[in-house]
Amino acid sequence: MSFITSRRSLARLGLGAGALLAAPRLTRAQAAFPERMIEVVTHAGVGGGTDITARMMMVQAAGEFKQELVVVNRTAGSGAQALQYLASKPADGHTIILVTQTHLLTQIRNRNVPQFADLVPLVRATDDPQLVLVRRDSPFRTAADLVAAGKQRSLRFGGTHVGGVDHIAIFSFGRAAGLQQPTLVPFRGGGEIVINLVGGNTDSALVNPAEAESQLRSGELRPLLALSEKRLPGFPDLPTAKESGIDCVASTVRGFCVLKGTPEDRVARLEQGLVRAMSGPIFKTYLENTGQSPDSVVGRAEWGAQLQAFHESGREALQALGLLR
């Protein structure tokens, strides 16, 4: 399977290269963009999941742009410093930022950083839908059990910190399903969330499939719902929340943006180059092996719409949770 995919994408790579050769005038017209090293700013530390996404993209992007790419880690302030670094650079396309939902929440809560409107979306890199999980011996056999219980009492959901992306997702799920406002038990990262769910310290959790891969395989955790638009290829029998009448989608997304004011032709060049680089075999294999959606990589239209939707629902949720002042 993976062999076929990589062959197919290799062919696409070849086609892409051919297209470039066939359009020498176009290349000349755009003069030399990129004319120097491209910086990729991320809010993750070296080795974080988001940082690895950037580095996986770069493996093939360097050849695509005929320029070196380098990751700049600006970790402080949940994306605030990464955004400020971006804003400190000229809007000429040589600095791109790896954006996650965390950045959008930071922007909503902190007016002093470049806002959502100051960004121009380029490409989505990864899209990792979340599952609603319970442990093996949980009394909730189906999603309906969970919802029924959640109407009687406040369920404990494991997630990351208060006001974080998980908190928003849990809140949105609870509201869409008509539950009493769920109690968030905050942990540091997906590993702890999974362990405490298996250990019985929480009732449920929203987790990316890859984070709980081993527990799902051994049956220690059971998925009740997929919070995606369509059923997931890895879980063909698992109903989506939408099918079950709960209007909620939640996924971990990462993608690239540039600063507003970047010339349109450069935005187009970056979009096209990044899409091509991330359609290459290395990024495809990375997506496949980390259990992320194979059609993660989409252009700016779809990526922009998704960011816009989260920007609005995130603001609303933060307001309802009393986290916005």
Partner: protein, 155 residues
């Protein structure tokens, strides 16, 4: 050997000030959003600051043996100059960038430190600068601050 005065009172006072500042600062925290279970944000820091205050009181009341001159040598004028140079390293980095700042700093401080001849100081300073550049910038590709100068030169 001259006996220094008992420093415990000064230390205790400093610690007490730190603790009181911390307690005061807890009143500036943003309120915790409503409806969250469990302990709030301010209780634990206040508890720890309170303990710190109590410990400072105990320290202030205990008469520990004062340290001798040998244990706490005086800070000479030249030492203050080196301290100032250490602090000055950051603005220097801001101005000319990390890599050029390293040999300059090593050379100047090494000279003030004394006991080593110019040539070996110069060699080791250059070697250190080049070594750090090779390891951090070339091999591991970490971006070190380029400073005002580096930005001007468009590096």
């Amino acid at each position: 050997m001259r006996r220094a005065r008992n420093p415990n009172h000064a230390i205790a006072a400093t610690i007490a000030v730190v603790a009181l500042c911390a307690i005061a600062a807890t009143f500036t925290f943003e309120p915790v959003p409503p409806g969250l279970p469990g302990l709030g944000a301010v209780e634990f820091p206040r508890l720890v600051s309170g303990i710190l205050l109590a410990l400072a009181l105990v320290l202030g009341l205990t008469a520990a043996s004062p340290p001798t001159e040998e244990e706490v040598p005086r800070v000479s004028g030249q030492a203050w100059v080196i301290f100032a140079l250490c602090l000055g390293f950051l603005p220097l980095v801001d101005m000319i960038g990390m890599i050029p700042a390293i040999p300059i700093f090593l050379l100047v401080v090494g000279r003030l430190w004394g006991g080593t001849a110019w040539p070996s100081l110069l060699l080791s300073a250059l070697g250190m600068g080049i070594g750090i550049w090779i390891v951090f910038v070339k091999i591991f590709r970490l971006t070190l601050p380029k400073g005002w100068l580096g930005t001007m030169l468009g590096l």
